[in-house]
């Protein structure tokens, strides 16, 4: 009996858990809901680990495919099948492991919330859809998962549906994602129409069989490869929150904090990166689109990082940080460093999940308060949250020997090779990241408490069920970096592991990204300097119990600029003017004029004619039998007349 034969159970178990919790369990059966809600992803994790162990033992890490059902509809032949190859193996580990920890954490975080059972049902549904996305053997199964996680994201952002803002944020996320999904679908149609298949293996084989066809002009002045790559990337822009479709992610923080950690930081939003890496062959054949990806990624990274500096909501800072780090991943994918993108995806999943869960622990202790200006000195009251949060902060800042350092360094090295400009943007982003993260840490955990007396009295460390996942994630944030490329050595386990996924194209050989020792030393020194500079600046401005005085000073000295950044460059307002309001007025026009006047009016006319006919015609029905008899005789006579003459 092999665990791999039960690969299909990994997504099926959370789906089952979601169905049972959602449909059968009652609200008051809280412990049953917990057992199912945490048990299903737990079993999934166990099975995933067993599968991964077996997979690692396979000679050459040969991909494992599992066909569930060959779906045929006319010319359309698509296998509902799962694929476990090195890329999905990494994703599988990250999703099940981080996902399970966040489920455990949620037991503590959501303990006193209404809708506990509903929460776990949605969260399991998300796990199932996410696993479907990463384990799918073709673009269609992936797309089903892709839409599934979008749905769960919508449901969980709007979890507090009785409040005003969350449902709006949920709708915004859903609609913005739909824009991306539309382009994604166009890309899939192009793939299917050109290659006749949607399976990853089939598409790669078809591409390699005729590379010339990919480079021939196709549509919009783009080559076939560029067209597909662009469409898929626009899909990724929506899901992974890149400029210009990033606006939904900061608002997505309206959901419960563990949801932000799982969906809007660690897993779902990285789906776009996964998809781009999965399609790396086509991206390699579309260098202009790859450059576009890199530029969008770099722009998003630095843009979101600057916004992060001036936010006061602890979750908003982390949200913009997530947008920024996703930009980093796309920068890596755009410059062709697919391994580095996945590497950063994995390390980011650990430290960002850790940071979000840490902020959840803080919010829990503060009784729902999210404004950092009212926090401070929490180190004394939440020692474990503080320690783990510190590890996460240092890891994301790129402090040497922690996970973020290695993955960022891999990305920056690859970016430098492509273009020093991208490298400098990446470096600046790294400095800003270190700066706003330490600001967050200082404002939250250090200095004096700035909240109300009542809040201070209520401060308490979170229960073990929340702290233990934090500690495990902190260990991951500290050590996950040692799986990838380590500077100054030739050690790169992840690179070797993922080698088979990054398709080598004859004639397009990528040169190995090994710099000379001297150059590498300069690059590493620059990364360290950026991190140190950012951390040092933040410490000078916010460290040592200075509280928010630096923010106030900045707001005084450059009020226009500060307001611009604090209000996120007014992007939401611009979109509101340019897109939302015109759409709303168009919709209103359709409703009030086209629907009410023309369509309803037409129907009313038809109804009126019918009614009028009836009104006039009914006077012939007098109820007088003799009159009817007369009609009848007249009719018979007329009939005779007609028959005889």
């Amino acid at each position: 009996m092999r665990a791999l034969d039960y690969l299909w159970l990994i997504p099926a178990l959370p789906f089952l858990g979601a169905a049972v919790n959602g449909l059968l369990v009652r609200n008051r059966q809280k412990s049953l809901a917990t057992a199912i809600g945490v048990g299903a992803p737990g079993l999934s994790l166990g099975l995933a680990l067993a599968c991964l162990i077996e997979f690692l033992a396979r000679p050459g890490h040969a991909p494992f495919e599992q066909l569930l059902y060959p779906w045929t509809a006319g010319a359309l032949k698509i296998d509902i099948a799962f694929l476990l190859d090195p890329l999905s193996a990494i994703m599988l580990f990250v999703v099940t492991f981080v996902g399970f920890l966040i489920h455990v954490y949620s037991v503590g975080y959501m303990a006193h919330e209404e809708g506990y059972r509903r929460y776990f049902s949605y969260l399991n549904l998300f796990m199932g859809a996410m696993l479907l996305l990463i384990l799918g053997d073709n673009y269609l199964v992936m797309f089903v998962g892709w839409e599934g996680v979008g749905l769960c994201s919508y449901l969980l952002i709007g979890f507090y549906f009785d409040q005003d803002f969350p449902p709006k944020a949920g709708r915004k996320a859903f609609i913005v994602n739909r824009i991306g999904d539309f382009a994604f679908l166009l890309g899939l149609f192009a793939i299917f129409s050109q290659f006749g298949t949607l399976s990853f293996k089939g598409v790669n084989a078809a591409v390699l069989a005729d590379i010339g066809a990919l480079e021939a002009p196709f549509a919009l002045g783009l080559s076939l490869a560029s067209f597909i790559a662009l469409c898929l990337f626009v899909g990724a822009m929506g899901k992974s929150a890149q400029i210009p479709l990033y606006v939904w992610l900061p608002d997505a923080m309206a959901g419960p904090t563990p949801v932000s950690a799982l969906i809007h930081a660690a897993t779902m939003v990285t789906a776009g990166v996964y998809m781009v890496v999965r399609t790396n062959l086509i991206y390699q054949l579309a260098p202009s689109i790859s450059l576009f990806v890199a530029i969008i990624g770099a722009a998003t990274a630095i843009f979101a990082a600057t916004i992060g500096i001036a936010q006061n909501d602890i979750k908003k800072v982390l949200a913009y940080s997530t947008v920024s780090q996703l930009g980093y991943m796309f920068l890596a994918a755009g410059v062709g460093a697919y391994v580095a993108a996945i590497f950063h995806l994995a390390t980011h999943a650990f430290f960002k999940a850790l940071l979000f869960l840490g902020s959840g622990s803080v919010i829990h202790a503060m009784g729902g308060e999210q404004d950092m200006r009212k926090m401070g000195s929490l180190r004394k009251h939440l020692p474990w949250t503080y320690r783990t949060f510190l590890v996460g902060t240092l890891a994301i800042s790129g402090v040497p020997l922690l996970a973020g350092f290695f993955s960022k360094d891999a990305i920056l090295g690859a970016a430098f090779e492509k273009s020093p400009v991208l490298w400098i943007v990446g470096l600046a982003t790294a400095a800003l990241t270190a700066c706003y993260m330490l600001r967050l840490l200082c404002l939250t955990f250090l200095g004096k408490f700035r909240g109300t007396h009542e809040q201070e009295h209520h401060l308490h460390e979170s229960p073990a069920v929340m702290v233990v996942p934090l500690v495990i994630l902190a260990a991951g944030a500290a050590f996950a970096g040692y799986a990838g490329k380590i500077p100054f050595t030739h050690f790169d386990w992840l690179g070797g592991f993922l080698q088979s996924v990054i398709v080598a194209i004859p004639g397009h050989e990528a040169h190995a990204a090994h710099h000379e020792m001297g150059l590498e030393a300069i690059l590493v020194a620059a990364s360290i300097a950026a991190a140190a500079g950012g951390l040092g600046l933040a410490w000078r401005l916010w460290g040592g119990g200075r509280g928010t005085s630096a923010d106030e000073a900045m707001a005084r000295r450059a009020p226009g600029l500060y307001r611009l950044v604090e209000n996120k460059y007014y992007v939401d307002e611009i979109y509101d003017r340019l897109v939302v309001r015109p759409l709303r007025s168009t919709a209103r026009f359709c409703w009030k004029v086209i629907d009410s006047v023309f369509i309803d009016g037409g129907l009313h006319v038809v109804a009126f004619i019918t009614e009028l006919t009836g009104d006039l015609g009914r006077f012939s029905t007098t109820g007088n039998v003799r009159q009817y008899a007369l009609y009848f005789f007249a009719g018979v006579l007329a009939l005779f007349w007609w028959m005889i003459f």
């Binding site: 009914r618 007098t622 007088n624 003799r626 008899a629 005789f633």
Partner: protein, 100 residues
């Protein structure tokens, strides 16, 4: 033998009397009687032709028609009796509630 035309003239006269009665009388029973007259005008035609052609099929038809007419008369009279019990009249001008 009496020529066929005589039978037909008699039948037409009977039919017209019946039709006139059915259209002009107000009593339900009288309308009923008139309809019987029309029915029997048709029966007379059938019997006459049957005799001329020497084919008994026409007479068989008439037997059936008479039997059905008898049953119909029974049902009709029953209906009028129950209508009378309800409305104390069988004047069809006043039995006009089934309308708009």
């Amino acid at each position: 033998m009496i020529p066929i035309a005589w039978y037909l003239v008699l039948a037409s006269v009977l039919f017209c009397i019946g039709a006139f009665g059915a259209l002009t009388r107000r009593s339900g029973i009288a309308i009923f009687l008139s309809i019987e007259l029309m029915l029997n005008a048709a029966n007379l035609t059938l019997v006459a032709y049957s005799r001329i052609h020497g084919d008994s099929a026409g007479q068989m038809f008439v037997f059936f028609a008479l039997a059905v007419a008898a049953a119909e008369a029974a049902v009709g009279l029953g209906l009028f009796i129950s209508i009378y019990r309800l409305r104390h009249t069988i004047d069809v001008n006043r039995l006009n509630r089934l309308r708009w």
